[in-house]
């Protein structure tokens, strides 16, 4: 089921708009991440798609059907809440069966319900837990039950609000994998909200990045990481350092020295130069910029040296340290800029 949010604007009270004309299209069968810092409007967008919030303007389309005015209970969405919202007085079985039992006239028979719940418990690998109560489960298990409960009603789209937010790193990793597996097995259009870029880049087919209620960019993880559309995306996704630069006659200058950046150069004037750690390298020659190492830290993929450049403002940059290179804190070094991206200041 293709899901579209078209020109969604939502305002709470007199505050700034939580969402300001956001357009997102989620392709059928896609796993989409809504990524952004807190307050960016990502959860509001998810709730608008679910029907839990009514947009001030804009439409929500499910396939070719306009779902904007369909009430939540008829919209057939599966929603997994950040804190699971399991019914605490019901067993796991009853929680999962809830959506089937409230169907009224089309309600399946007892045997059908039992079979469906059993199937879902197997899907989330908690077959033995049907008789437990939510408070007898770990956080990761509750999350799986919440997922099974949402899937029980055979939703047209699965929506997850910060699904791994409250879990520790290891459980989170397992759950990411099982969400991906379940998604691949059922092929259901899935949208999840996260503030964790690693989660979004690792798990999603495409990522929509929101900031201050505006959609900054939508694209595959590679696109948003390698070809960020805005300074915000550049700084929010992946590591980067920012240097004040100037654009003059189609060239980018940092401290009057040309920098090898060619794409995205705008009009003359001050600009912001963003550098990934591998856009900067240590150099032994007289070229480049002098500075000293403030800190060396271990990042997931390798080591990073934080270098304070000599001169006015002493800006800090993060440099990727090659394997085997020795860099010590306090050491005087020279760096050269080999690439980067330029955005309006």
């Amino acid at each position: 089921m293709r899901v579209q949010a078209i020109g969604i604007t939502k305002r709470f009270g007199s505050d700034d708009a939580a969402l300001n004309g956001v357009d997102v299209e989620v392709r059928s069968g896609e796993l989409m991440a809504l990524l952004g810092p807190s307050g960016s409007g990502k959860t509001t967008l998810l709730r608008v798609i679910a029907g839990l919030e009514t947009p001030d303007s804009g439409r929500v389309m499910f396939g070719d059907e306009d779902a904007t005015d369909i009430p939540v209970r008829k919209r057939r969405v599966g929603f997994v809440f950040q804190h699971y919202a399991l019914f605490r007085h019901m067993t796991v079985f009853d929680n999962i069966a809830f959506g089937l039992r409230v169907r009224g006239r089309e309600r399946p028979s007892r045997a059908e319900i039992a079979a469906r719940v059993g199937e879902l418990l197997r899907l989330v690998q908690l077959e033995e837990y049907g008789r437990r109560r939510p408070n007898q489960l770990s956080g990761g298990q509750r999350q799986r039950i919440a997922l099974a409960r949402a899937l029980a009603v055979d939703p047209r789209v699965l929506l997850l609000d910060e699904p791994f937010g409250a879990l520790d790193a290891r459980v989170r990793k397992d759950l990411r994998r099982s969400l991906r597996d379940i998604h691949d097995a059922t092929g259901r259009t899935t949208i999840f909200v996260t503030h964790d870029q690693d989660e979004a880049l690792e798990l999603a087919d495409r990522v929509a990045i929101l900031n201050n209620g505006i959609l900054e960019q939508i694209g595959t993880p590679d696109e948003v990481h390698d070809h960020p559309a805005s300074a915000f995306v550049m700084s929010f996704v992946g590591e980067s350092s920012r240097l004040p630069a100037t654009v003059s006659g189609g060239r980018v200058l940092f401290r009057d020295t040309p920098v090898p950046v060619t794409a995205g150069i705008g009009a003359d004037g001050p600009a912001a130069l963003y550098l990934r750690p591998w856009d900067i390298a240590f150099t032994s020659g007289p070229a480049g910029f002098a500075g000293h190492v403030v800190m060396v830290r271990r990042a997931a993929g390798g080591r990073r040296a934080e270098v304070a450049l000599d001169g006015p403002d002493a800006p800090h940059v993060e440099v990727g340290v090659p394997v085997g290179a020795s860099v010590a804190r306090g050491e005087n070094v020279r760096i050269e800029i080999r690439g980067g991206r330029i955005f309006p200041a």
Partner: protein, 297 residues
């Protein structure tokens, strides 16, 4: 020293012991505080309670029993039970509705509603009773119209029920609002996304989440409904055998120097209070988590 020992037992979970703990007062300070507390409780709570039962049974068991054979006494008991059995269910419905509206929805005038719910706590019950007399009495605003249609409110059951409902209104709502606010809306939203109607969500999700707090509120509401004096005294008219509730009957008997009868009736009210207290303590002990606040996720 028994008093001191029981005081120490309360502090047993402190593994460091009394010495070295910053917040622990010297032994003699603790003993004096405990002694003051016990003396106060004994003087103002325990002794009156004992006195009620002592006076009630002063004439012996037979006299105690006989005082309930009086038809007026029976009428008073019946009236109190009737009033409570109307007022408590009404406040159950009002209280749940108000708490649900306040905790789960945003609307204009919400803070005004919250303030209004507390009004019966801040208004003197006598004033509350007078308000009903002014509204429904013979010279009141709607009293004459009601009288023409054959409805008597003041000096009759409806007036007593109205006054009791007014005075006991906050108990259930006050008990539910903080709990429901704490639980938030996610459970209801989850039920709705799963296709449940509002009614179904209320019965299957909202109500079970607050049932112990609700029972607790009903209990307090009932105790107050049966014991209410001031507001009821104003609207009842003290017609023996007709509009006398138990507390009013106690006063009448006492003023007639029928001490055994007065205290026998009072002992029933005191007994009710003790039973309420026992159930309340049990609920707090057993379901403390779901009364004070939502259980941890």
């Amino acid at each position: 020293m028994p008093g001191g020992d029981s005081g120490m037992a309360e502090r047993a979970p402190d593994p460091a012991g009394p010495i070295g703990s910053v917040t622990t007062e010297p032994l003699w300070v603790r003993r004096i505080l405990i002694a003051i507390a016990i003396a106060f409780l004994g003087l103002f709570l325990l002794m009156p309670l004992v006195a009620v039962f002592f006076e009630a049974l002063r004439g012996g068991w037979a006299a105690y029993r006989a005082s309930f054979d009086d038809p007026d006494a029976r009428a008073a008991i019946a009236l109190t039970l009737t009033v409570a059995s109307i007022a408590v269910p009404m406040n159950l419905v009002f209280g749940v509705a108000a708490a649900w509206a306040i905790a789960k929805f945003e609307f204009r005038g919400k803070s005004l509603l919250v303030t209004l719910i507390d009004l019966p706590f801040s208004v003197s019950p006598v004033v509350a009773g007078l308000v009903f007399v002014l509204l429904f009495g013979a010279q009141g605003l709607v009293g004459p119209w009601l009288r023409e249609h054959g409805v008597q409110v003041i000096f009759a059951l409806p007036g007593i029920v109205l006054a009791t409902v007014f005075v006991t209104f906050p108990f259930i709502a006050r008990e539910l609002i903080p709990l429901m606010q704490d639980q938030g809306r996610a459970d209801e939203e989850a039920a709705t996304t799963l296709g449940a109607s509002g009614w179904r969500t209320f019965w299957s999700v909202t109500l079970p989440n607050v049932k112990w707090a609700l029972l607790y509120g009903v209990l307090l509401c009932n105790a107050r409904a049966m014991g209410e004096f001031g507001a009821v005294a104003v609207v009842s008219g003290h017609i023996r055998g007709q509009t006398n509730t138990m507390p009013l009957h106690v006063e009448i008997l006492y003023n007639e120097y029928n001490l055994v009868g007065a205290f026998a009736m009072a002992s029933l009210l005191a007994g009710l209070a003790l039973v309420t207290l026992a159930i309340k303590s049990f609920l707090e002990w057993r379901f403390g988590g779901s009364i004070a606040s939502a259980p941890a996720h």
